[in-house]
Amino acid sequence: MNAIVKLQDVHKDYGQGDVVVHALRGLSLEIDKGEMTAVAGPSGSGKSTLLNMISGLDKPTSGSIWVDGKDTSKMSRSQLSKLRLERIGFVFQAYNLLPVLTAYENAEYVLLMRGVPASERRDKVMAILKRVGLEGMEKRFPRELSGGQQQRVAIARAIVSQPALVLADEPTANVDSKTAAALLDLMAELNEEKGSTFLFSTHDRAVMKRAKRLIVLKDGQILENGSLEHLDE
């Protein structure tokens, strides 16, 4: 089985009684290893909800989700936490970094949590920071970095431990379009070089275009799902 993520008829309702919001209505999809997939759709269509279901930050109302072959609906809170630490990398829209840690320390964080030995950590962090173009900025604190640079640190942290899957909820929403394009280029390159699997959500048409596959949501349902070349036609 090559699927890193598999969803089967996933429903998510928020609220109770009269004010139930059906955020996801029967979503089924698979994401394979090495894919670079964008989730698009209007505001409120369920993009963030989908990503949160996959990472186990939220539980589906019904349906099943497998990540790396494991059924996450059967996992406890701490098992999910462990799964996220060991198998998933994250890039958020903002507040990605710990303000009290330097770029180096932020990138190192996940490795530390995982108990990777010091020398290995050092090599990996130095290499990844160099790769994302932050060589020489290791000692800077987040407030001393630009928005784009901060997101690069976040990307470095997300992939430094070589997770099965990198989830990014609107990673470019807080940066200008040029920076966004550069960040997407970086992700695409990493996807090529290291075979990292990326799943990100976005509003931005230019950003969507950098993905190899596009899933379009509307009202919690899949409107389109396919390779970008195919969709363009």
Binding site: L57, L83, R84, E86, F92, L98, P99, V100, E105
Partner: protein
């Protein structure tokens, strides 16, 4: 430095001002509490010290029924032997034999009920504060026979001074003194006291057989302790004279008082003394008592006053706790996003809780340490220099017959500091459990959106 330590440390210094304010408010309140507690302990210690030295010692050997019916025939026998054995016990500083009885003091112009205390002048001179409170004349001496010292108030009530003498002196001195002493009454007082010295009075009491006896004594000195119960009621005579008066033998007294060295384990001394007593011929009638049993009023005062003191300190410390609680809660709530992000990327919430505990420990440890140092040093300064309360209480202050020394000294006790410090520290750690509990409940999916 471990990651958690690094996070805790840097997070605290990220809010430098808040951290410092919190640490200092802990230090300030705790320091204040420590200072006042040291003060109270100092005052109580002095009070107890004065009382036991003036009266019947830290421990008192007496007839077991003496406190119910303070009768002169309830005796301690075989005194000198008992004494020499007790002096050998470790922790015993000195012993004093006392005869305590009731009687009446009569002058030509009045009669007043008094407590007659037969004391050993030599022993008292080196231990009793009363010997240092003589304002006119002198204290009792070893060779004195029909001698007495009385308090100022008693002297006034007995009107010992010769009226004609007083008037003469008054007239003579008034023009000289009135510019200096605005208060004529004060001058009168001084003259009266002065003129009482050497006057005669008659002491009446019951002897050991219950017969009325009386004897003429001469006033050798006047004391002022500041406590009306003492100054208007107590008279001291040499113990040999007292024995002669009530018909006791040389080897008898109503009390044997025992003064202890500082920091002596009292319980240990009590058991040693009890062992000595058990071999005495009158073993069945005499017991050893603590000063709290001999002076229950004083013990009760210290208990009540100490209690109210502790309530006040408790409130102070409660405020400290509230400050810490508030700071920790605020620091957790404002980092919901940060913590949510950490949990999202797979940090177990327990790790974050540990970070918050570390932060709390750091704040509490510094606050407590500084507080103990501030309060301890402040208290120590008051221990060495003392604080003069005369300007606050010009008329003095007495507790159940014991006058406070108006220059009070604090007493800084390391065990007390340790107890207060660790209580505050422990309570702080307990208090941070609530903010910590909030971490677990952060809705991660919502805060990272």
């Amino acid at each position: 430095m471990s990651l958690l330590m690094k996070l805790a440390w840097r997070s605290l210094w990220r809010h430098k001002r808040r951290t410092i304010i919190t640490i200092f408010s802990i230090a300030f309140s705790l320091g204040l509490a420590v200072f006042f507690i040291s003060f109270a302990e100092g005052v109580y210690a002095e009070l107890i010290d004065d009382a036991v030295r003036m009266q019947a010692g830290h421990l008192t050997i007496e007839n077991k029924d003496y406190r119910q019916a303070s009768s002169i025939d309830l005796l301690v026998e075989n005194l000198s032997e008992l004494r020499s054995e007790i002096k050998q016990i470790k922790g015993v500083k000195s012993t004093k034999a006392i005869i305590m009885g009731q009687g009446v003091a009569k002058s030509g112009r009045g009669a007043v009920g008094v407590a007659i205390s037969g004391v050993e002048p030599k022993v008292e001179q080196s231990t009793s504060p009363l010997a240092k409170k003589i304002v006119a004349g002198r204290y009792l001496r070893a060779g004195d026979s029909n001698a007495v010292i009385i308090g100022k108030n008693l002297a006034q009530r007995l009107k010992l001074e010769n009226t004609r003498e007083l008037k003469k002196l008054h007239a003579l001195l008034a023009p000289l003194f009135s510019p200096l002493l605005q208060d004529e009454e004060l001058m009168d007082d001084l003259l009266r006291i002065r003129l009482s010295i050497g006057k005669k009075l008659v002491v009446t009491t019951n002897d050991v057989n219950g017969q009325m006896v009386e004897e003429l004594v001469r006033v050798k000195g006047i004391f002022v302790t500041g406590a009306v119960q003492i100054d208007g009621y107590l008279i001291q005579v040499p113990i040999d004279f007292a024995r002669h008066l009530v018909g006791m033998k040389d080897d008898q007294a109503t009390q044997l008082g025992i003064l202890l060295d500082p920091d002596t384990d009292r319980q240990e001394v009590i058991s040693s003394i009890s062992a000595v007593i058990a071999n005495e011929p009158d073993a069945r009638s005499i017991v050893v008592k603590k000063w709290e049993e001999v002076m229950p009023d004083l013990a009760a005062y210290i208990k009540i006053d100490g209690g109210s003191n502790y309530i006040f300190q408790g409130i102070l410390i409660f405020l400290v706790m509230f400050t810490i609680f508030n700071t920790i809660l605020m620091s957790v709530l404002e980092r919901r996003r940060e913590f949510g992000m950490l949990m999202a990327i797979g940090t177990p919430y327990q790790k974050i809780e540990r970070q918050v505990i570390l932060e709390t420990i750091f704040i509490a440890a510094w606050g407590v340490l500084l507080g103990l140092v501030f309060g301890g040093l402040g208290g120590y300064a008051m221990q060495v220099n003392g604080l003069d309360l005369r300007q606050f209480y010009p008329e003095g202050f007495t507790v159940s017959g014991i006058a406070f020394d108006m220059i009070v000294h604090a007493k800084v006790e390391i065990p007390t500091l340790a107890v207060i410090g660790s209580t505050v520290f422990g309570a702080t750690i307990l208090l941070c459990l609530y903010p910590m509990g909030r971490i677990k409940r952060i809705p991660v999916a919502d805060v990272i959106r």
